[in-house]
């Protein structure tokens, strides 16, 4: 069956439109991440924003440009390490269908 079944999350995010802000609306407290062994943010995020930092595996990188602004990380991070604010007006995700 066709390609629609084989899309990766990157492929999917490529179809979503954004106005990318020059600064991040997400800040992570790395001291708390160090103590977090399960790192659920790698999984619960609908926009695949959090990734293991390759040079510091107990830290995560934040690809804020992919954020769908769902808010899941504000409830799913067990250590409340994520400071998430709304992007500036008209910035961030811009759904055409929604």
């Amino acid at each position: 069956m066709g390609k629609i079944l084989e899309l990766t999350v990157e492929d999917k995010l490529y179809t979503t439109k954004y106005e990318t802000d020059s600064r991040s609306h997400i800040k992570v407290n790395g001291d708390l991440c160090r103590t977090c062994s399960s790192k659920p943010c790698l999984r619960f995020c609908s926009g695949d924003v959090y990734k293991i930092n390759p040079s510091e595996p107990d830290q995560v990188t934040v690809n804020y440009e992919n954020c769908l602004e769902c808010g899941t990380c504000r409830h799913g991070c067990p250590f409340n390490a994520i400071d998430w604010q709304y992007p500036d007006g008209a910035m961030g995700v811009k759904y055409r269908y929604g």
Binding site: I4, T72, G76, A90, V93, Y95, G98
Partner: protein, 442 residues
């Protein structure tokens, strides 16, 4: 800044979803001077949904369904259990659903629909301020007399109003902050959230109509549970738009974290089930989206009124998270009541908590809160009896497989074996207890 430069209106609404738009419309129709602030470039650009229930919409804008950008009207609904290589559905359709007002159930693209609704609100006289973020409220007074008097716009000035309606949706940073700052009592339990992701998949109109057996602008709303969602409090849906399909999955955040699935991965499991994949075969992805839903139900709803403030819609937790997933009409109903309370408060010149009491009085009399209350035990039931979403449908599905399997046995033997297999692993007492619980799911 001098006093003349200060912007002061009767009412400010924070958020241009169905809740905020209904509030702004009601207040503008009632003669109030209203500003609605929306952080997206246009109202709808941050919003995700599937069906729009139009009861309040058609009340506030007579025959709205005739002009609104509705993709298809829902003429057929179904619930499907997805097994391992099997599927079992209950489908219902009604001829009346293909006649105006189409059972008030519409498939819409929310980014386009909310934008249209905002244009109607503007036409009614409200001012839309799009592309502006409200960072918080401005207060006067101390203690019990503390009241909200305005909103702080990010990177800009403050705007002042007698009353502020908070309609900032499920991811409601402003409402959360105001609850704390004005010490508004919370609900019995903490709000709980689910996350939903959705794919809009394009297919030719004719293909959709042939595949789903539809005429003209008829559409379907199919809900799914079963194997792709095993261990999760969640399910999937397919709604048909004109020349695209909404395919999405929703799961409670804690259950998702436990399962280890990503939201996108969960939607893939759903999409790849053979009973589902054939419905979207040949389609192309137009857009991927994500959004939360408040699922704590009635017990998570706290006080919704404070001095100069009312909270409506998803920010108030007014979603019916049963199979109906009703949020749009509940948001509009609460927005309408908040608007009516603001109009009455202006007549009395009393915007204090007691001056706005009409809002929660109307809400208590209305449909949204009653429906959310009817399902108040649902969050608890789904956590305490996960069999209801997994084991039992699975068992019934197996019963169907055993029952309909064509083999060389006489029917009496097949049926007896099917029943025996069905009762295996099922505690009769638990079955009874759960049957009682299941009634509350309906």
């Amino acid at each position: 800044m001098s006093a003349e430069d200060t912007v002061k209106v009767d009412a400010i609404v924070v958020g241009g979803g169905p809740g905020g738009l209904a509030a702004a419309l009601t207040m503008a129709q009632g003669g109030l001077e209203v500003i609605l602030v929306e952080r997206g470039e246009y109202a709808g650009s941050k919003n995700v949904g599937g069906l729009f229930y139009g009861t309040i919409l058609n009340q506030l804008i007579p025959d709205a369904f005739k002009q609104a950008p509705i993709e298809r009207t829902v003429s057929k609904r179904s619930i499907t259990y997805l097994g391992d290589g099997t599927h079992m559905s209950l489908t219902f359709g009604a001829d009346a659903w293909s006649q105006p007002p189409y059972n008030n159930t519409y498939v819409v693209h929310r980014a386009q629909f909310d934008r249209w609704l905002a244009s109607q609100v503007e036409e009614a006289g409200a001012t839309l301020l799009e592309g502006m973020v409200v960072d918080g409220l401005i207060y006067e007074g101390e203690g019990a007399g503390r009241k909200a008097v305005g909103v702080q716009l990010r990177g800009d000035e403050a705007f002042y109003a007698d009353v502020i309606v908070l309609a900032d949706g499920a991811n409601c940073l402003v409402s959360e902050k105001v609850r704390e700052e004005l010490a508004m009592p919370g609900g019995k339990i903490k709000q709980e959230y689910a996350v939903g992701v959705k794919e809009i998949i394009s297919l030719p109109k004719e293909t959709i109509e042939a595949r789903f057996n539809l005429k003209d602008n008829e559409g379907v709303a199919y809900d799914f549970l079963g194997v792709p969602f095993e261990g999760l409090i969640g399910g999937g849906f397919i709604y048909t738009a004109k020349d695209s399909i909404h395919l999405g999955s929703v799961a409670r955040i804690e259950s998702l974290v436990e399962s280890g699935f990503t939201p996108s991965g969960l939607n893939d499991r759903f999409k790849q089930h053979p009973a589902v994949s054939r419905l979207i075969d040949g389609g192309e992805l137009l857009e991927y989206s994500g959004h939360m839903l408040p699922e704590g139900g009635y017990d998570a709803i706290g006080s919704l009124t404070a001095n100069g403030v009312m909270i409506v819609g998803d920010a108030a937790g007014l979603l019916n998270m049963s199979l109906y997933k009703e949020g749009t009409n509940h948001a509009m109903e609460s927005g309408m009541y908040a608007g009516q309370a603001a109009v009455a408060a202006k007549e009395k010149k009393d915007y204090s908590r007691s001056g706005l009491a009409l809002y929660e009085e109307k809400l208590a009399e209305g449909i949204a809160l009653k429906d959310v209350k009817k399902y108040k035990d649902l969050p608890d039931i789904l956590t305490s009896a996960p069999e209801l979403l997994s084991l039992y449908p699975k068992k019934i599905n197996q019963l169907m497989v055993d029952y309909f399997t064509v083999n060389a046995e006489p029917k009496a033997v097949t049926q007896k074996a099917a029943m025996k297999n069905f009762m295996k692993d099922m505690s009769k007492i638990k079955l009874l207890r759960n049957a009682f619980k299941a009634r509350k799911l309906m």
